[in-house]
């Protein structure tokens, strides 16, 4: 899946208006969607409902942010389902082993989980870079390995996390929003910080914008790639923590459905699959669009069998609207 950009570069001033429009299109789509759902069912537009949408979206947002970095590099990471499962299970096991409540040493399970996620991503990146396997395939296979690992570890059992302190992620609210929404927000800011203020974050864009050029500039692209996958793995593990926090259960199935969901969200948000364009705020908007559609369709009472189709149509429309058609000549 590659794309060639027209060798432009001489886009006149007149084009800026369109560029600005395209840049903000995902947000507009989000607002319009909210407007439509609110018109059809006024209850959609309530703080409590937004809290519900955000609770549902928080784990997916973390996973999508992780994969955003990889997509900006022009690669793709499909290992999230496995990584999330492994991290969820690893967290639960560590947490219980260390005492089962945050008040004890069990808080150690949190950093350990992040390390597990980063390590999985690191391995993923190494396989991709060292064996020269395209990331699509390498990460897909690593996803299988991850899901399998979680399965072997648990034997299929679910592990409950009952600790009230940990579950306060869901139950404790500040200004009507539960703690996990704030945690997701903090990690979003961290991601934004990485994206804009660190060498690594900027190097993602360099690799995505022109890998051979980046090599010629003396950039250690392989290192950037591996670090990118490791960073993605770490964000997947944050997603796993929030997913466990939301349901209170860690299991092999914790990672289910994250793959297509997160990549769809990233693309809908306006990050280009061919790399170099987009960022974590795009991803936030994309995730919100997907979850607003999901929530909105139930809220307005669409029959179940129509929902998948409507989601499909809306996703296509959202991507069309947020694509700068003038700047690309073809897409695969």
């Amino acid at each position: 899946m590659t794309i060639l950009e027209t060798s432009g570069g001489k886009r006149g001033r007149a084009a800026i208006g369109r560029e600005v429009l395209v840049k903000w299109a995902p947000l507009l789509v989000l607002l319009v969607l909210c407007g439509i759902f609110a018109l059809m069912e006024p209850r959609f537009l309530s703080t409590r409902n937004f809290a519900r949408i955000l609770i549902a979206a928080s784990p997916a947002l973390m996973v999508a942010i992780g994969v955003t970095f990889v997509i900006i590099m022009g690669s793709i990471d499909l290992s999230m389902e496995g990584t999330v499962s492994v991290c969820a299970v690893a967290f639960a096991l560590c947490f219980l082993w260390f005492g089962g409540t945050l008040a004890s040493w069990a808080w150690l399970a949190l950093p350990i989980t992040l390390l597990v996620g980063a390590a999985l991503g690191f391995i993923n990146g190494l396989i991709h870079v060292k064996l020269k396997i395209p990331s699509f395939m390498a990460s897909l296979a690593m996803g299988f390995v991850g899901t399998g690992l979680a399965m072997v570890t648990t034997g299929g059992d679910r592990i409950r996390i009952e600790d009230e302190l940990f579950r306060s992620l869901l139950t404790e609210r500040i200004l009507n929003f539960p703690l996990m929404v704030y945690v997701a927000g903090i990690f979003l800011l961290i991601a934004w910080f990485i994206q804009t203020r660190t060498t690594l974050g900027r190097n993602f864009y360099a690799v995505g914008g022109g890998e051979d050029l980046a090599v010629a500039s003396g950039l250690n692209v392989n290192r950037v790639r591996v670090m990118g996958f490791a960073l993605a793995g770490m964000f997947f593990s944050v997603g796993a923590l929030l997913a466990v926090g939301r349901i209170g259960i860690a299991e092999t199935a914790t990672g289910n459905n994250f793959m297509f969901l997160s990549i769809t969200a990233v693309v809908v948000g306006g990050t280009a699959l061919w790399g170099g364009i987009g960022g974590v705020w795009n991803t936030l908007v994309g995730v919100l669009i997907v979850f607003v559609i999901g929530n909105g369709m139930v809220v307005i009472g669409l029959p179940g069998y129509v929902q998948d189709g409507v989601l499909g149509i809306l996703v296509i429309l959202a991507v069309i609207l947020s694509t700068d058609r003038k700047s690309i000549s073809f897409v695969k």
């Binding site: 432009g8 060498t199 914008g209 022109g210 980046a214 500039s217």
Partner: protein, 500 residues
Amino acid sequence: MYQLNKVDKTFPGVHALKAVDFTIGRGEIVGLVGENGAGKSTLMKVIYGAYQPNGGTVSIDGTTVRFQNPRQAMDHGIGMVFQEQSLIINLTVMENIFLGFEQQFVRWGVIDWKAMAKAARHQLRKVKLDIDPAMVTSQLSFAQRQLVELAKVLALEERIKGDLVILLDEPTSVLAREEVELLFSLVRELTSRASFIFVSHRMDEVLELSDRIYVMKDGAVVDVVTQAEANVDAIQRKMVGRDVDKEYYREQLQKPYDASKTLVRFDRASVAGKFSDISFDLHAGEVLCLVGTEGSGREAILRTIFGLERPTGGTVDVKGASHCATAQEAVARGVGYVPRERKVEGIVDGMNVYENMTLSQMGRFSTRGVLRIAEEKALAQTWIDRLGIKTPDVYKDCGGLSGGNQQKVVLAKWRSGGSDIILLDHPTRGLDIGAKEDVYDMIREMCNEGAGIVLVADTLEEAIGLSHTILVLKDGIFQKRFDGSPGDKPTLYDLVHHMT
């Protein structure tokens, strides 16, 4: 003082560099010329660390060094300005300048954008470019990008102790003449800070700029001449081992065109934002050359004839009928397009010779969609023989052919299909002299067979030498028409005067 001493480089089956000696002193500008395949690019890659030599030594100020990668070369003050644009266009100017060297602006893991912008402005001043370093690179013109590249290399200056050696690989190929002048004066000024290795196919430019010129042939340095003793003919003789005389452009083969037979007619045609109010006729047997700088509307006119742009004003007629709506239609009506980006648009890398040759005319080699492959191969063999295409057989992947042979495949594609309106966009770009001559031969031949050719030439000399008619364009507007019959051709000055 940078020195190569008896440097050898071999690849399996190829002795690419043979005991090459090369020195460059402080503040010197050294030219490097040679045909394609003479070893220029291998030599450059050795210099900037992309290749490691098999024999001989590289030394800087008398100390032997060995670079494992370009980054190590950079750390020793050797920088490269690439032929193809090597800036990453989705990054800002300052990010490009300091790509790979951001660490100096990092405080506690955070990039200090203000400090980087300040440093970038300092670098941009060296190349006299007054732009906001936070601008996204894609918004710059090609000439501005070239200067940013230079600034990027010059930024090495503050990072290393010794002197800078800067390689300029075909830096002028995307620049208009005026921009080239600017670049050259800048380079001369910068000799106070660095020495330059200047690589170009444009012999006049090499002569104009260089203090000394290394001439390479077959992997060896065959001559080193100083600016004072250099002349184009002598150097070209050394490069090719034979004379390149006035017959270079085959002017004696130029025949008058058939004015009664009009193939393409532009009548006050415009494409919004690209060109406006352009009128000309292309006749059978005519070479019509469009001259102008990048963005003057030359390419847009080609694209319009080929059906990729639609005229927004006036009329464009192709063979008496209205303009082509699509490229498919254009091809069907006998328009052939030889694009500038040969490897990307000309041939399909990954398809073999006969597949490439019939790509535009598969209808003629198929029955209800089923290909008659034997006929395709026969056709390919015919044209391989006729044009002297150097390929082991028709099954050879075109991506593995040399540039000249690739171009011959592209030309064969259109000629074998009977196209009689041929659009040539920089047809000799990046070709060595021998291949260029072959292309010129073919252009004459096509004319004599009654084809009309619209040419966007690689150099002005080429434009003058080849064409019957020259249209000079500037910013999408027609400037001046020259009729260039042999012996009565416009001079370089005439063209440049109207272009800029």
